[in-house]
Amino acid sequence: MAALEQLEKEYDAARRDPEFTAELDDLLKNYAGRPTLLTEAKRFGAHRAGGARIMLKREDLAHTGSHKINNVLGQVLLTKRMGKTRVIAETGAGQHGVATATACALLGLECVVYMGEEDTRRQALNVSRMRMLGAEVIPVTTGTRTLKDAMNDAFRDWVATVGNTHYCIGSVGGPHPFPMMVRDFQRIIGVEARQQILDQAGRLPDAVVACVGGGSNAIGVFHAFIPDTDVRLVGCEAGGDGGGRPYRTAATLGLGSPGVLHGMRTYVLQDAEGQTLGTHSISAGLDYPGVGPEHSWLKDAGRATYRSVSDSEAMEGFSALCTTEGIIPALESSHAVAGAMSLGRELGPDALILVNLSGRGDKDVATASAWFGV
């Protein structure tokens, strides 16, 4: 609790400090490669999304291959500012772990990443990347051995090491101030995309689509559009492979109920007694039984809608983008791609849809090869 108060205070001071924001802006531009491109997916839109005009926000082109670097650079600079020397992180797909390991290498900080054992197997490439970058990767063998359990172990580490350690949470979840701080570091996605789509298409999109696990890329791209009430905000949750049955889905907003998990009050996949339910998604990054509290608010306020995308729909989206655009999306982002395919067919050829392509799919080629039998 004291650490959270310290973090809130330091973050509040940092974001008003021109020196801090200048340093972060410089890293985002000259290290992470911002602004990322906005690419029109013409063949994909014409052939796979009902003729709708689809614009891809290319977070897959950011350094380390996903939007995660935006948040991590901010938090790691904050770690140095607080005088701490060690950073811990949880990771599901490994994208946040890789980004954290990268930023720690850049700034000379010790880095430990907790990752569910199940995820170290299915995202083995990212485990190797983290180790190359000098991070220690600790496979987590408790519970369901996925993202939720990695987060549990990261919290356990942090309560024992809080004096010299910052816990760099990768999503818009956890206790305050994390959801707000991570949102602030990710909102650059939507700020850029809003201006880019005005420049390139001459108008705001009819809908903004993003995948939602914890929800950081979705909040990042949604946030700048919240006041634009004519723009639909559509989150795509991982429906899994069981038609929404418990343990075979990760569609928290669609199927969960309000509860408390990891220090936040939000929708949770849980049983009647408040025990967290195990989840399943083909994408490790969406395989999580909670969701950032701001998404719960957007859902309850009716400002955003959330739909479930199954494993097989996501794989269809994955394949469609590969073969029509020459872009291999992450399995997480493939849920947003699949969501855009159905939304495009619903809205028709006049529609303009912005899709946040949150990460690239190199890490997923083994899973995809097994799925498609190639």
Binding site: M1, A2, A3, E5, T142, G143, K148, N152, F155, R156, V159, A160, T161, V162, G163, G259, V260, L261, H262, G263, V268, Q270, A272, E273, G274, Q275, T276
Partner: protein, 265 residues
């Protein structure tokens, strides 16, 4: 006066610290946990904390985390926790429930307080609840005569210690080591300072937990705190035992050893 307050008063009258033992309901099984808790009380534990098994015990180390996972896998439900509390309290032992907040929120704060009070439970220890987030719990606990025990830690600044201790009743739980539960080889020196700081803000007893596993450490902590809380060491003994009877006698032996320790402290 709550049974917990009575237990602390009795210990203080005997010029010693109170011994508080923890075990999760349903571990290694429901009946053995009840017998072990009663045996602990017979051997000198003044207060029993019954853990409510939860799927994501982020404040617990591997020994307790594995035990509650087993309890859940065995099918332990909230009703079993209430049964367990009822059985221990019926034996005349002051019994609290230690629980993460989500199961209480889902059960309903008022309903849980009502049912806990009706089986003779004394209150709740809530490691992941801050007074700011406690909602109706202070009012509900007062209505049912239940104690509210929140945690202070060495990292808590004085303004938080003031806030937390003023929200407590029964006693204040001082987490002596920064970290999760689990027996340590040495008692952390920050515990002494934490107890002193807590006492500046409250007249309630201050009990120290997290890290005590043998009579020497119990004696040391009893020298400066009003209560000594032992959890992981009991759970480890229960887990190591090869039979239910073995588990009960192991718990009894450890409680007797610790009870001797606090009388030296």
């Amino acid at each position: 006066m709550s049974a917990v307050t009575t237990a602390f008063t009795k210990a203080a009258a005997a010029d010693r610290a109170a011994l508080i033992g923890y075990l999760p309901a349903g571990f290694p099984d429901k009946a053995t946990a009840i017998k072990a808790a009663i045996a602990m009380a017979e051997a000198g534990a003044d207060i029993i904390e019954v853990g409510l098994p939860y799927s994501d015990p982020v404040m617990d180390g591997p020994v307790i985390a594995n035990a509650v996972h087993r309890a859940l896998t065995n099918g332990t439900r909230v009703a079993d926790v209430l049964d367990t509390v009822g059985a221990i309290a019926s034996a005349g032992v002051a019994t609290l429930v230690m629980t993460y907040w989500n199961p209480i929120a889902q059960y309903g704060v008022d309903a849980f307080a009502r049912d806990l009070a009706s089986v003779g439970g004394s209150g709740l220890i809530t490691p992941d609840l801050t007074p700011e987030e406690a909602g109706i719990w202070p009012e509900v606990s007062a209505r049912y005569g239940l104690d509210r025990v929140f945690l202070v830690a060495p990292s808590s600044p004085d303004h938080r210690i003031a806030r937390i201790t003023s929200a407590c009743s029964g006693f204040v739980y001082a987490a002596s080591l920064m970290g999760t539960t689990g027996a340590r080889s040495a008692v952390d020196s920050s515990a002494v300072g934490l107890v002193e700081r807590a006492r500046e803000h409250t007249g309630l007893p201050v009990a120290v937990g997290v890290g005590v596993s043998n009579s020497e450490q119990a004696a040391e902590v009893a020298g400066f705190a009003d209560g000594v809380i032992v959890g992981t060491a009991f759970v480890r003994r229960l887990g190591d035992a090869i039979s239910g009877e073995g588990a009960v006698s192991a718990a009894r032996d450890l409680a007797a050893d610790l009870a001797q320790g606090i009388r030296r402290g």
